[in-house]
């Protein structure tokens, strides 16, 4: 089956002003820098990385919520990076997004019915019985009571607001849904409900997800494959099991080693475990030369400082960009 989405060389640079008031100069913030990525129909691709790595920007680029600086995105056989406004709007039916902050993403002056119905109206449906029925079906599908229909966002808890956001994203029956940190603003006891709901809806509606999150446990639970980002680059992509069992990139290894233990008996303190990485994520205004992780990498070699490593295949469907990896022999 062909991929649902295929991005190649996708790049987003922001011009930012640096320096003081009197010494202004312009610099390019390389939020996303030459990303190649595919999303298969029906899968959940998890996208992880630390704050500032560009994962949210990449999510928005993939469905063209923001224009790319370079590169292209093929969605369902159509190149969406060059679509005109009219064709883009039509294409948007099939690509929707669920945002992180259920408090900021909903218009406080719109009732739940108006909020969920709005995408239908934008795409040409009329405000009639058919649209109202569609809202009824969505309310039921996301587990909200029919009585919620005429209430307003402030009357709901964070978890319920996220259900409203999901209903709004799904009423157009999209093929791809970008879930941008959909549970990280929620209390932990509520997160599981939303994760389960997203799984159920995926099965029911045959959805494909790009699931952006920084919580490696949640990503492991929900994803089919996982991509790891560092400073605007995808550094590793693999099948979920392969990635968590056999992380190849030193950054992925460090990320996994940094996750707190699940039982006090597993505390690693005082034992010689994996080398913890030190330091902070460098700025995307001036990313390090060569491999962008070399400033924090415990295995850094001279070549890492000068040459950027290419993505190499190592095992079925497992790719990583690191000079340490010996590529599989070509078949």
């Amino acid at each position: 089956m062909p991929a649902l989405l295929e991005a190649s060389g996708l790049t987003k640079h922001y011009d930012v002003e640096t320096g003081g008031f009197f010494r202004r100069s312009k610099a390019a913030l390389r939020a996303v820098d030459g990303v190649n990525l595919t999303i298969e129909p029906g899968e959940t691709l998890g996208l992880v990385g630390e704050s500032g790595c560009g994962k949210s920007t990449l999510g928005r680029l993939l469905i063209r919520l923001i224009p790319a600086t370079a590169g292209r995105v093929m969605f369902d056989g159509m190149e969406i990076t060059s679509l005109g406004p009219k064709a883009l709007r039509a294409a948007r039916r099939a690509m929707q997004i669920v945002f992180q902050d259920p408090f900021g993403a909903l218009n406080p002056r719109m009732s739940v019915e108006e909020t969920i119905m709005e995408p239908l109206l934008i795409h040409g449906s009329r405000r009639g019985a058919a649209s109202r029925d569609a809202v009824t079906r969505m309310l039921d599908m996301v587990g909200l009571a029919e009585s919620a229909r005429h209430r307003f966002p402030h009357e709901f808890s964070g978890g319920q607001r996220q259900r409203i956001g999901i209903a709004r994203a799904l009423i157009l029956r999209p093929k791809l849904v970008v879930c941008d940190e959909p549970v990280s603003a929620l209390d932990v006891s509520v997160q599981a409900q939303i994760v389960n709901l997203l799984s159920d809806l995926q099965t029911e509606l045959g959805l494909t997800y790009l699931f952006i999150a920084h919580d490696l446990g949640v990503v492991k639970h929900i994803s089919t494959r996982v991509a790891v980002m560092y400073l605007g680059k995808v550094v590793e992509v693999a099948d979920k099991r392969s990635l968590y069992a056999r992380p190849l990139h030193p950054y992925t290894q460090a990320l996994l080693a940094s996750v707190p233990v699940t039982h006090p008996s597993q505390r690693r303190r005082g034992t010689i475990g994996q080398p913890r990485i030190t330091g902070d994520i460098p700025t995307a205004l001036a990313p390090p030369s060569g491999c962008r992780f070399h400033t924090r990498c415990p295995h850094v070699m001279p070549i890492c400082r000068t040459d950027e490593p290419a993505m190499r295949q190592s095992g079925a469907g497992h790719q990583a960009a690191c000079h340490l990896i010996a590529a599989d022999p070509p078949m």
Binding site: E50, Q160, S189, A192, G217, V259, V261, S265, I277, T278
Partner: protein, 323 residues
């Protein structure tokens, strides 16, 4: 005598809709050098408990309705503002979740650390400078002497949290209260800060109250754990026992609803419903409305915190049925 002994602490807030209790009958004690984890979600009262101990609740709208907070035998609730101020720093210090809003943006970090030293000790400018540099080195700030003249905005989130720790620890407190100290940080930075906290505990022998919503942080650091829900302590246990034999249905829910790296589940075990607003807490057991084990008796009375075994206590009338 325990380092800290909190008994039946109850506080309220005046709101537009009347007076609402924030925490009720919170009791626990803490020994020298011990790390007590307080775990709970929003509205559980974990931060209010910390602020009440520090004497930092804004009054009004907050009010302490009852109980006592004994630190080294002295009841902090009866101390004057002046004596309380003298105690903050060398006695009890606190770090907050958001290091950006806790630091003053118009002063250098050096000035902010030295201000703390000068408030409590009469050291010369030179000595307090040296002391501040030493503390910055201890919390892992490289090139500490030059960083002294940096402003908060010049530091990354992880470094700011290190500076907060330096300010909190520069007077060698006997108790450090850390309120979600790593929640705003990335996971690789979180690991560094947690390790630093444990090292500093070992070096200074201070006790720590670690407030978090993250069971992983508890598993990584705590000696003993207090679980709070909707303003009350629902379970208290040594950390190993809590993870091996959680008694309260809420604790068991919290432990099973978070997907972890070492398990594979098809479906997460979710806790139904959502957290009650402080003004709309259910009668009886606060968790009864969301509890799958609830029976009618659960909404009649608030279950007391009862000790079951090995200093393991839980507030649930059905605990006997789960064993």
């Amino acid at each position: 005598m325990s380092l800290l002994d909190v008994r039946d602490l109850t506080t309220s807030f005046q709101t537009g809709g009347g007076e609402v209790t924030a925490i009720e009958n919170v009791s626990f004690s803490l020994e020298k050098g011990e790390i007590l984890g307080i775990v709970g979600e929003s509205g559980s009262g974990k931060s209010v408990t910390a602020l009440a101990i520090m004497g930092l609740l804004p009054r009004p709208p907050a009010r302490v309705l009852g109980g006592s907070v004994r630190f080294e035998g002295q009841d902090l609730l009866t101390l004057s503002d002046r004596s309380m101020q003298r105690l903050r720093g060398p006695g009890i210090a606190m770090v907050f979740q958001e290091p950006m809003t806790s630091l003053n943006p118009v002063f250098t970090i050096g000035e902010q650390i030295m201000e703390t030293i000068r408030a409590h000790e009469s050291l010369s400018q030179k000595d307090s400078f040296a002391r501040a540099v030493e503390m910055l080195e201890k919390v892992g700030i490289p090139a500490a002497t030059t960083r002294m003249s940096d402003y908060p905005h010049q530091l990354s989130g992880g470094q700011r949290q290190r500076v907060m720790l330096a300010i909190a620890l520069v007077c060698r407190p006997r108790l450090l209260i850390a309120d979600e100290p790593t929640t705003a940080l990335d996971v690789t930075i979180q690991a560094q800060i947690l390790e630093l906290l444990m090292d500093l505990r070992d070096e200074f022998g201070m006790a720590i109250i670690m407030i978090t919503h993250n069971m992983g942080v508890i598993a990584e650091t705590a000696d003993r754990v207090l679980v709070m829900y909707a303003g009350r302590v629902v379970e208290q246990a040594p950390v190993g026992r809590l993870f091996d034999h959680p008694l309260h249905p809420y604790t068991r829910g919290l432990l099973s609803c978070v997907p972890t790296l070492d398990q594979d589940q098809d479906r997460l075990i979710a806790i139904p419903g959502s957290l009650p607003e402080p003004s709309r807490r259910p009668s009886g057991c606060r968790f009864s409305a969301r509890c799958v084990h609830a029976i009618p008796a659960c909404s009649d009375v608030i279950p007391p915190l009862e000790i079951f075994e090995q200093s393991h206590a839980a507030a649930c009338i059905r605990v006997g049925d789960f064993a």
